[in-house]
Amino acid sequence: MTESYKQVGLSEDEYNLILKQLGREPNELELNLYGVMWSEHCGYKNSKLLLKMLPVKGERVLQGPGENAGALDIGDGDAVTMKVESHNHPSALSPYQGAATGVGGIVRDILAVGAYPVANLNSLYFGKLEKAHQRYLLAEVVKGIADYGNCLGIPTVAGEVHFDDAYEGNCLVNAMCVGLTRSEDLKTAFAKGPGNSVMVVGNLTGRDGMGGASFASQELTKESEENRSAVQVGDPFVEKLLIDACMEIFQNENVIGVQDMGAAGIISSTSETASKAETGIEIDIDLVPKRESGMLPYEVMISESQERMLLIVKEGKENEVNKIFHKWDLHAVKIGNVTDDGMIRVLNNGIKVGEVPAKSLTNPPLYKKDIIKPEYLNYIELLDYKDLPEPDNYNKVILIMLDNHNIASKEWIYRQYDHMVQLNTVVTPGSDAAVLRIKGKNKAIALTLDGNGRYVYLNPEKGSEIVIAEACRNLVASGAKPIGVTDCLNFGSPEKPDIYYQLYYSIKGLANACNKFNTPVVSGNVSLYNDTEYGSIYPTPTVGVLGLIEDLNHITDIKFKNADDCIYLIGNFSNEIGGSEYLFEIHKFVKGKLPELNLDIELYTQNAILEIIRNGLVKSCHDVSDGGIAVNLAESAVTGNFGIDVSINSNIRKDIVLFGEHQSMFVISAEKKNENKIVGILKKFQTKMSYLGSVTDEKIFKISVNGNEIINLDLAQISENYKNSISKMF
């Protein structure tokens, strides 16, 4: 017994704590339960204390972290729920199934709060596509997301994809789901009312993903590559039935609590619901409908078979519930009861095989470490621009930039996702944010999911502020007011001091920005131990932000719309290009200072943009981000299929002007006659704009800097590089 705690991933101290809490030695089943529940993945041992820095309250918050998904009030009694979650480790091993079940899991989180899933998003990070294995991973992950999400009839409307060597051995697959419901219909995961029934619904329980939760909390090694039973297989068909059946069941009052079964299956769903409600649960594993015979009790308890949910049902209403599931060719089976003794009691065919306090499973020891600045941060920001040769051919540079996979159109990917089903997607993938109208109402929501590992690596705090600022900028450019955040923290092992420092300061940065923009964090997920033999990934928080558009007329996209419209630049240049795609692609550096971000200026500028959009004064709006102004202009030109004739004046270096990732900056197009009104509004927000030039019918892309024309290309060529860069890799 003494050493077996190691096999379930517990430390000696943790084992001793268990002895103290139980007052005896745990048996093998019980030990296994602790093993999964006290893993980082389920227990948040290393991150929970840090997460307390995040703002979680706000006038629109209906439900914050602690539930299966967060919920925000979007007016008229409507609630939007959202959550993002990682499936990095399963996807690295089995990219198709890993990504597919990642979508399945996050959709069940949305379902578990009683909402109908209306949109999926995803954030993907791989190594460079020049490597065959990375192409394989991308193709399989995308197919996994597509096959699963498409079958469910949930549109996959937005996301991001990055390629960088830092993710070569450990790709990131973060899936986000957004749901819609009425505020009064939100469900919670409380096992209330002793005597009530505990039911499992959905798929049968098999030996899938045995120990996936503790597995996701260990570094990937050659050995774990062998440990492949950790991979689960998704069944989107059953998930779709589960969605339809649950929506029907939620219409009456028989269901008191709902919890999806994700990591650590039955044990985590029972102990979490009981622990929250200050109750206990007794179940008999013999009653659990199984797919395989001869499953051991602990296998039943921690199995990660997909497409299952746990329901707490009013005593005596089991048959009514079962009837509805039956209609959908699913079962709902009573496996036990809520009790009042605070214990999770496991029976096997009536005989007790284990018993532990629910609260002890859900309250692992929490760790806080010393925060020690990593060595690399002392020199990584040092970069003298005088050492960087200025390009002599800007036509060439912009073509290279557009051909860069991080910048190029992601159409090859999103074509594979059904992004139109449900008839709400007004702004489809390829703009700054997706926009979904709310049927029957004059309002819409805007969604984005964003990250920037390189920035956060160079400066964890500032970089993370920029991640939030940029996500909000995407929403604002679409005409939406940002109202709430869900985040997924993808980091290396917290046991390494460098990583712990990154984690601390990144969360601090997220908190600073969320406080400033009044966008509370309503849900999230933490994925640590993203390390391989090659080292850790870049610290990569990804953030999903929800925006509200209160009038359908305010919906805006990035496309230039009409020839002769004027193009204007709003915001100020920064003289820093650390972490930029330009520096990386052309000069092969990952260093330097990040472009300056002042959160106050950012907020004014965003408010100013919103105000001019709401006054109906803009035709298109696009924020400046990866690849700078040059790429921004190219994207609006290509997607709108117009040429431009633009000239920029500035006293900083031309390459920094064009490709620097200046913060708090937008490009808009508008009719000349609206110029004065726009200037008037901007003044109120202490924001200025400059005239850059115009949209042209001629399909030529022209940019001058300080009077010298340095870019002059056919739109067709710009478009070719931008549109086909990824597809031609396959």
Partner: protein, 229 residues
């Protein structure tokens, strides 16, 4: 006019069709359950898009055996109007109401995209409101939309003007480069010889409102309503 929209397990576009018919066109619309073996009491039956039975084994193969399909076959035999959109088209071919088979797209990928279609003729109850030769935008979203039938069947379809829609570009060009999925002769939608059963891969319900892409698709539904009145 009464419309029925069938719900098979995982037909995920049933609600979209229902919405267009009932909310945008104010038609009397109801859902029909796949297990129902009651006679069809609507004027039109719609088999919507989606992934009936997960599209496992072959798209539409399992759905074709649902009890409701016997009734649909009976209904179609009596001249009732039946429309199969996307997965619905696949079910109609599997059940023999329409000839041919929808195979995997030649690119082997799911394609979701706006798509131009050429309206081949407006003699059909399903295309009355268009002009022959119109180019309309009607999005596609499928894995298996590659229409195949043997030469004989294709010749008959051509000869009898049963091909209602073909994939084309913005200017109405119908050729290999404007064929998204490998369909024989760029076929996007066909009717049976009697003219009362339509199957098409594109989704007219997805281009039925200006705020979403365009409203070219709604004329298909309006054609039916007009021919009834």
């Amino acid at each position: 006019m009464k419309f029925g929209v069938i719900i098979f397990p995982a037909s995920n576009c049933a609600e979209d069709c229902y919405y267009v018919l009932s909310s945008l066109l104010n038609q009397n619309t109801k859902y029909l359950w796949h297990k129902s073996s009651e006679a069809i009491d609507t004027d039109v039956v719609i088999l919507s898009g989606g992934f009936s039975f997960g599209d496992y084994l072959r798209c539409g193969a399992i759905a074709r055996f649902s009890p409701v399909m016997e009734r649909v076959i009976e209904f179609a035999g009596k001249g009732g109007l039946v429309i199969g959109i996307c997965n619905g088209f696949q079910i109609l071919t599997e059940s023999g109401l329409l000839p041919g088979t929808l195979m995997k797209n030649t690119c082997l990928k799911f394609i979701c995209s706006p798509q131009y279609l050429k309206v081949e003729n407006n003699y059909s109850v399903f295309s009355k409101k268009y002009n022959s030769g119109d180019v309309i935008n009607c999005p596609i979203a499928h894995n298996e939309g590659n229409y195949f039938a043997d030469e004989n069947t294709i010749n008959k379809l051509e000869k009898n003007n049963q091909i209602l829609f073909r994939y084309c570009d913005e200017n109405g060009n119908v050729n290999d480069s404007t064929n998204p999925n490998g369909s024989v002769n760029n076929i996007a939608g066909i009717i049976n010889i009697e003219g009362n059963v339509l199957g098409l891969m594109p989704h007219p319900e997805r281009s039925s409102e200006k705020i979403l892409l365009c409203d070219d698709g709604i004329k298909l539904f309006k054609s039916i309503i007009e021919s009834y009145n």
